[in-house]
Each structure stands twice: as C-alpha cells, then as structure tokens.
Amino acid sequence: MAIAGHAEPLPSSLTLGARVHSWVVSVDHKRLGMMYVGFGLLFFLVAGLEAAAMRAQLARAGSQLIDPTTFNQLFTMHGTTMVFLVGMPILLGMANYLVPLMIGARDMAFPRLNAFGLWLFIFGALLLYYSYIGAQGLYGTSAAPDVGWFAYAPLTSRTYSPGNSTDYWILGIMVSGFGSITTAINLIATILVMRCPGMTLLRMPLFPWMMLVTSVLVLIAVPVLTGAQAMLLLDRSFGAHFFDTEQGGSAVLWQHLFWFFGHPEVYILVLPAFGFLNEIVPVFSRKVVFGYSLMVAATVAIGFISLGVWAHHMFALGLSPEMNSFFAASTFLIAVPTGIKIFTWLGTMIGGRIEFATPMLFATGFLAMFTFGGLTGIMLAVVPFDWQLSDSYFVVAHFHYVLFGGTVFGIFGAIFYWFPKATGRMLSERLGRWFFWILFLGFNLTFLPMHVSGILGMPRRIYTFQPDRGLDLWNLLSTAGVALQAAALLLFLWNVVHSLLRGKPAGNNPWNAWTLEWATSSPPPDWNFDRIPTVGSARPLWDVANPHDPDPSPEAHG
C-alpha cells in the first residue's frame, strides 16, 4: 500500500509576513484544524486563569480579594469560554484535522466554508472578550458579561443587566455558533460522501462515527440557542417580550430553549472525546475494539436520547411531578449506552498488552474519572436527590469530572497521540508522564472536595461563603488543587515548545497504529495521500502489518 506522501517544507526564503499570510488564507483542513486547536488552547489558558482567580478568592471564608461583580464576571466568562471557546473549537478542530485523513480523503467537502467557520469562531471569541475593554457594565465601567454561562432570564433583561455586556455575550456566542453550524454541515457531508473506496460506514474508524453523531447534534441543538439568543437580543434592544417577565414574557421558556441546546451540548463536548478513546485504547492495548457495532449503536442512541433529557436541568423549577418523572426516566436511560461505552473500553483492555504511553495514561484517567462523573450524574437524575444537590458545588464537581476528567483528559490524550502526526515530532514522554500525574492529582484535589462542599450546603456561583458551615477546609483543598493543575500546565507548555524545536522525529507511524492517517507522512502533505487508498476493513494498517490475520470484513458477517 504505497500511499505515503511527502511533506514539502515551506521554502525557507519566505518572510514571516508571507508565512502568516499563508496560514490566514489557507483552506487546508489540517492548517485550519491546527489553528482551531491553537486558539482553543489559548482560551484554555485564559479560562484557567479565570478559574485560578476564583479559587484564590474562595481560599478562605469572607475573603475580600475580588469584589462580587468581578467574581460574577469570572465565572460567567470561565464557563462560556470553556464550553464555546475551548471545548467546541478544540474538538471540532481535531475533527477537521483527523476526519479527512482517517477516511482517506484529500480535504473536507467544503474547504472554503471550513475556513469561514474558523474565522467566524475567532471573530466571535474576540467579540466576547472585547467586552472586557469595550462594554458598559453596571456602574458605567467597562465590564464583561456577568449573567452566568446559561444566562437565565430575566436576569439578562435590560432592567437587571443594564449596559451592553450581555449583548456582547449574545453576539459573541451567536457568531461563533454560526461557525460551529458550518463545521457540522461540512463534517456530515465529508463523512457521508468523501470516504475512500472500500470504506463502508461499518468499516469507518470510530472517531469519524462519533463526529458524525456529534455534528448532527450540533446541527439540531446550536440553531435553537442561536434562535433563543436572537429573541433575547430583540427583547433587549427592540422592546420584544419573549423573556420579559414584567410584560408577561416567560422565564421558563428561556430555560427550555437554552437546555434544549445545553444538554445535547454536553454530548457534543464528550462524544468526540469518546472518539479519541476509541482510537487510543485499542492501539495501546494492541487489541481491536471489543464490540464495534454496539459502540456505534450506543453512540447513535446517545445522540437520540440526549435530545430528550434537557429538563433535568430544571428539576428545581417546580415543574409538575409527571414532567419531572419523565425527564428522570429519559436521563436514566441515557446512562445505559454511556455504560456500554465504558464496558467496551474495559473489554478492549482486558486480554490486551497495554502500553502506558502518555496518550494511554490520559485515556485510562478519562475512564476512571468519567465513570465517577457518570455515577454522580445518576445521583443527579434522581429528582428528589437533585432538589438537594442541584445548583450546589456537588454539581460543579460532577460536571468537572465529566468535562475535565472526561473531555479535557481526552483532549490531552489526543494531543499526545496525534502531535507526532501533525508536527513530525514526538512530545517528550518523560514530561508527558509528569504532566499526567500532576494534573491527575491536582484535578482530584480540586474537584473531589467540591462534592463535600456541595453536600454541606454550599451553592455554586457565590463569591464568598459563610465561615460557620464547615466549608473552610474543603475550599482550601480545592484551591490547593488548582495550584497543582497550574504547575502541570506549565510543564505541558514547556513540553510543546521544547518538542516542537527538539522533539524526536516521529516517522509515519510511531504508535504502530491502524487507521489511515498513520499511512501518510508526518506531517502529511497538502494533498494528504499520494494515491487515494482502498481499504478492506476498519483497520487497514493492521491488515497490511498482519497479512496472515486480516480483520474480517463486517459485510462478511451480514
């Protein structure tokens, strides 16, 4: 299978300006993907600094380090940034980079639309952050939005959020949302029509499968948010009354619309990370994934069910008992396909020969932490228990176990796994292991105590807490954990910089992996493959390496 290509190095005579220009005008899915990930990591640092500032304020009861308005801006921007400017772009960016390579295509279906999506995201992100400089806040000073990332009405109305910081929140997210929608359309088209000869849907690697379902969810969910934000904008600027409770508008309507987007969004943030695990766990266990079809079925099931669970964010609202029971049941139901995924990865590891390189460390960390976050999720689905736990630090702990212990760990695993492909150089394994263990420790030190704070009655989103409620120790521990995480991230940054300059050359297939992206050079040439490959199974490179024991074709089983 002579499908390896050769990257043509840029002529060294190019000036810096010309290099930058070549990135700005690029429509190559690999460059766009890397820019997505780069900007995503940049905003990850910003959101991390915001979190660190909050934890510094919450190190002790009654601290006056940060005033309430600033604190409220910090958690609003932290949440908004992590969801819209870190999770979405990094995951969509990885998909941009990987999907065409994994399905043996030369680019995405619509390369220019792809570039358009990236620049919409960047513009939206900058618009949101411009609010720190340009928006008028409560007291006539410049101010970032402070309405919380789910921006409940009527706190977002002109009456309770004067100035225009809330409008920056609406417009920034709306613009970057358009970007996500175009990327979703592009991924769906690419996956459905650009697969190389021989790659039927059931011979497709699992990461593109996860991205197919994710993209459909983006296409269904994000326009609902965009619509709700348009309504809010009409309320704020043109005297409409959709959510204006003083004029008969409905505060509950916003919650329904927001969470109809918001809960699928959680799966939009976690399905691609499942996809990373589906590539990493088999390769480092040296075993094919245990139950490919059930994994696909579970993913599609999650896609469907995730559209019907949104009101579990609204159990404390006082909806009718029937409504609460329905959404509890649908939420329990989604635990089943999610459980199937965890069991599938375990089944893949059992009987394998697991090599704990950094990507596999992160994948294993994901498994351990996501299982924990999933189980606290089951507790939150128990409506009466949720009445106690909802909107407390327990929930903060829960979704950080899912989205940090899950998604972010998955992202770091993926970065360590595919960095050699994208740059041609390996990240340092030694630094990588240190990074993993310090981050793992810091993560648990931060978020385990938050379960306790929540059980002791600490609501989320408070800039200070009462001294007489036994919360002091747990909050101090959480702050200490953030210090460890910050140290770990410094290590990661150093690793990236150092490895880009001096890393060990990677070769085409450093992990001895099986999917098509490893068949071409590292980094791949602009055209990805010299010849479009033809495949006979989901693991074409396994078939090449083990001609005596090729994978059975799924069609052969009927």
């Binding site: 009527p154 706190l155 139950g291 089943v336 020969r353 189980l375 128990v382 009466p384």
Partner: protein, 356 residues
C-alpha cells in the same frame, strides 16, 4: 538518570508550591469581610443535606442513601475491573507479537446492556415514588401557609392569618412552629431565586410570573440555615436564609407581636422625621408610617437577629454601620449610602432600634 529524576522532581515541587503561594497568599493577606463576625445565640443547625430535620428532607435522605449505595457498588465493580485490567494486562518485558484479537461477544455485550437497564429501571421506580411523596401539589393538612417572595437580595415572608386577618409581613427570618407542616407559596419580585434550607427540604425556585410550592415540617426546635441557590445577580452569595422553629406558644406570641402596630414614633420624632424625609420610606414599610415595598418591612425590625439578609448580627453598631454605607458590608446591594451626618445617624438609629 536518578539524578535527573530528582532534579525534575524538585523542579515540579518548587513549581507547585509557588503556584500554591500565588493562589492562596493574596486571600490571606487582605482583611476578611465583616460577615465573619461570629453570631451569638443558640447553636445553629448544620446546612448539610445529611442532617435532615423535616419529613421531605428525611425521605430524600433515605432515597439518597439507596442511590449512593447502588452507585458506590457500580463504582467499585467498574474501577476494580479497570485496575485489574491495568495490572493484569500491562505489557511485560517478554511479550512478543500481538495479543489475540477479539471482536466482541454477543452474550457479554447483551449482559452489559441489560443489567444496567434493570438497575436504572429500579432506580427510576424509587425516584418516581419519592417524587410523589415529596412534591406536594396541595398543602398538607393543617399546614401554616407562608408566601415567600424573593427580592434582589433578600427574602420577604407573608404569614397567612387563619382567621382572615392581614398577613404578618417580615423579612429574611422565618419563624415557624415545631411539628406543624409549613406550606410555602413561592414567587419572585424580580429575577429567579431558589429557596434552599437543606435540613428542611430540597430547593425550589422562585420564578417571576409563576408560582411554585414547597413544604417542610421542622421536627425539633432550632435555627436552620440556608441560602439562595439560583444565581440572581451581584449579591447572590449573601442572600441568606434563616428559619427558626419554636414551640407553639412561642410561635403564637411571636405572631401576635408581629401583628401588633409599630411602636409609636412620638418619642423618636427626630429619627422618624429623617425616615420620612429621606429616601427610606420609598422602599421600606413601617406600619403606620410608610408603605414602601422594595425593601424589607421594618415594622418590627429589632425582633430579628440579623441584618442585611443574614450577613451580620443585628444590633445598634451594625445598624449604624449599615446606615453609614450599605455598600461597605454588601457591595452592589440596592440600598444607597444616604450621606447622613453623625447626629442624623444617631437619631435614625435611635428610632429604628425602637422598632421591636
């Protein structure tokens, strides 16, 4: 190698300790807010959800015990399997070639689909049952009805009079009889708030333009704490809840005292005239003097234990400090500093602290 390892080890420790110092030192370097004044009086009940003192909280607690038990069992099985896989199936020095490729197994895959389905089905049944028990749509028999109205950032209580008289209106501190159900009708004057006293019941939101209900029944006397649990703007953190459960006789005498007209202002004419002359009366009601509705009713102000929605104990000193500049204690709150002179302050504090 070992030396390199140690050097590296030291570098990460130094790095982590520095970060820790950067994060915690500033908070310990600045003064804490005045809310840290310890409150006197009887010992307060815990805000933990693990010490229920009311039937709905108790029922939630026992359901939670079941759910946590089931989840803990699943946790041990799954994480145990993971640990076992990590230890048993890690690559060893002598390993050659690839392991046997197993593409799946229908019975195993069926098992890990069906068993979780059964578990969540059982949990769903238990959940629906407890929802029916806890979430009442009608008031329990013999309940005391209280209207709770959320305001940015304080609570208004209107305790219904069974004999058809006007309700008793008070703020931030609810007094209830022990052993009698209390039916709360929840509404909001501005944005969404959430009423959460963990020992009494889970939280229920107060939504503008909509009514919701919750209930509890304090099983023993004591002061139960909680706070607003839905982000409601700048001072969300200091919208504290305080419910005092007392025996029937004490409750009735409290209610009678609250229903009584306000203290005659005649002997505090200076303070009273400041109250009427300045902005105070626009927001605060004092029975017989003003009917403002944007701030807490002050008719029997001094019968309360705390000021600023539970932030500080209420006494002449804190009252005076509050009047000098409310933004000092509660930055962002809706009460402005009135720029009073010292004699004016004295007169106003004299008048207000007579309202018991």
């Amino acid at each position: 190698m070992a030396r390199r390892f140690m050097r590296f080890n030291r570098a990460s420790v130094v790095c982590s300790v520095t970060m820790l110092a950067v994060l915690t030192a500033p908070s310990f370097a600045v003064d804490v807010a005045p809310i840290c004044t310890p409150m006197g009086g009887e010992p307060l009940q815990s805000t933990s959800i693990l010490s229920p003192i009311s039937p709905p909280a108790r029922e939630i607690h026992s359901l939670a015990a079941l759910v946590v038990g089931v989840c803990a069992a699943i946790f041990i099985v799954v994480e145990g399997a993971l640990l076992w896989a990590i230890i048993r199936y890690r690559r060893r020095a002598g390993d050659r070639g690839e392991p046997v490729q197993v593409f799946g197994s229908n019975p195993i895959e069926l098992a890990w689909t069906v068993i979780p389905l059964v578990i969540v089905f059982v949990l769903a049944l238990a959940t629906v049952r407890t929802i029916k028990d806890v979430q009442r749509t009608e008031p329990p028999a013999g309940a005391l009805t209280v209207d709770v109205i959320g305001h940015q950032w304080w609570w208004e209580y209107r305790i219904a009079d069974e004999d058809g008289g006007p309700p008793v209106v008070t703020a931030n501190e609810l007094v209830v009889p022990v052993g009698r159900p209390v039916w709360l009708r929840l509404a909001s004057a501005d944005v969404i708030h959430s009423w959460w006293v963990p020992a009494l019941n889970g939280k229920t939101d107060l939504v503008p333009g909509r009514f919701s209900n919750t209930w509890f029944e304090a099983e023993q006397p004591g002061t139960f704490l909680g706070q607003c649990a839905e982000y409601c703007g700048t001072q969300h953190a200091n919208m504290l809840l305080r419910v005092r459960a007392v025996d029937d006789a004490q409750f009735e005498s409290w209610r009678t005292a609250q229903a009584a007209p306000a203290r005659d202002p005649a002997s505090f004419a200076a303070g009273h005239s400041i109250f009427l002359r300045l902005a105070c009366m626009n927001c605060h009601a004092i029975d017989g003097s003003s009917s403002g509705a944007f701030g807490p009713n002050l008719t029997h102000l001094m019968s309360r234990e705390t000021i600023a929605a539970g932030m500080a104990p209420l006494n002449r000193d804190t009252l005076r400090a509050w009047l000098v500049d409310p933004q000092q204690l509660k930055p962002g709150c809706n009460m402005p500093s009135l720029q009073l002179t010292d004699p004016e302050l004295d007169a106003l504090v004299d008048y207000l602290s007579s309202l018991n």
